[in-house]
Symmetry: C2
Subunit: 165 residues, 2 copies
DNA sequence: GTGATTGTGGATATGCATATCCACAATGCG
DNA sequence: CGCATTGTGGATATGCATATCCACAATCAC
């Protein structure tokens, strides 16, 4: 699955948060329900995201979680990095600890370099707005399932024309 | 690092094995020395690789490990799959358990699809011959460090022309 | 056949990511 | 000010990947 489950939880939470109205904070347990995780556990993930400045958590009545910025201003790398750490910055294929500096350091570095570049590009260029709403299959519980066309979803991802995806 | 450490060990061992003479079997402990792992541990990894038909292990005097096929006939996916399992077949971004069937199932599926495709292509197209010899920095112990241009390294990787790799 | 050498498999520690829970602090409302 | 509500942090299980070791079986040289 490439990403750790914790990072995936964070992505799901951010995606769900991006799907709603920006002005209304979402309760922790409500978010936990959407993501499908115990709220006590998700709260830790959310705390990390808040500490990273990706969302703001307001206490008290009418409190809850809100995105700190517009969803299209939050890149996935920011969401993943606090959880994956250096794992989000792939190194050499045969020596993951080394940063794969010179071209001769690791064989097949050309193919692997393409791989790394695509991976990094994806995390750098894709924003939370692009994954907004999360998995419809999961959110389809209440009368939801709609996908807000607002908030400026999908405003270009770079690396546009490729093979046949 | 994307790949698990066990899978990386396997890749290193295969790369090291591909660097030598195909006719001469390599001792388990010699291979372990090159990879930098206790032989008792690497033996387990090698056993899995042998069971997968990627290398043959001959017992007795003059025994050791040999590649079962020419290095350029062994794709990296074959090496990684026994250790990574389904992790080598990435699914949906927000729902890793689901295979990301239809286009609407996961947002940002276009960008993620590119990512998955590149990842899969790398594993499918790159062969052990491409990573042959392993990390020179590690192998530079004896008079080694040479890189056999034979065996037909880099026989095309697809997804050729990209940005600036 | 005998003995040395080699790989194979199982049983077993260790460490880390993951997950769960509980008590505390902070905030907002009346 | 006091109470209810909310998030925060720490302490704590659990499971799995990783790693280590040891006894056995197979093979080859002599």
């Amino acid at each position: 699955m490439i990403f750790s489950s914790t990072a995936t939880h964070a992505l799901r939470a951010m995606a769900s948060l991006a799907g709603g109205e920006p002005s209304e904070p979402v309760l922790g347990r409500e978010l936990a329900r959407r993501v499908g995780l115990p709220s006590h556990y998700l709260s830790k993930v959310l705390a990390t995201l808040a500490r990273s400045g990706l969302l703001t958590a307001s206490r008290g009545a009418k409190g809850g979680y809100r995105l700190a910025r517009r969803p299209d201003r939050i890149r996935l790398i920011e969401v993943v990095l606090p959880f994956e750490g250096q794992r989000a910055r792939p190194g050499c294929l045969l020596r993951p600890d080394k940063p794969c500096r010179n071209s001769g350091a690791c064989s097949a570095h050309a193919a692997w370099g393409d791989m790394k570049r695509t991976f990094t590009d994806f995390l750098e260029q894709t924003t939370v707005a692009d994954i907004q709403g999360g998995d419809p299959g999961l959110l389809a519980k209440g009368p939801l399932g709609l996908r807000h066309p607002a908030t400026g979803a999908h405003r270009g991802r770079s690396a546009a024309g490729r093979g046949s995806a």
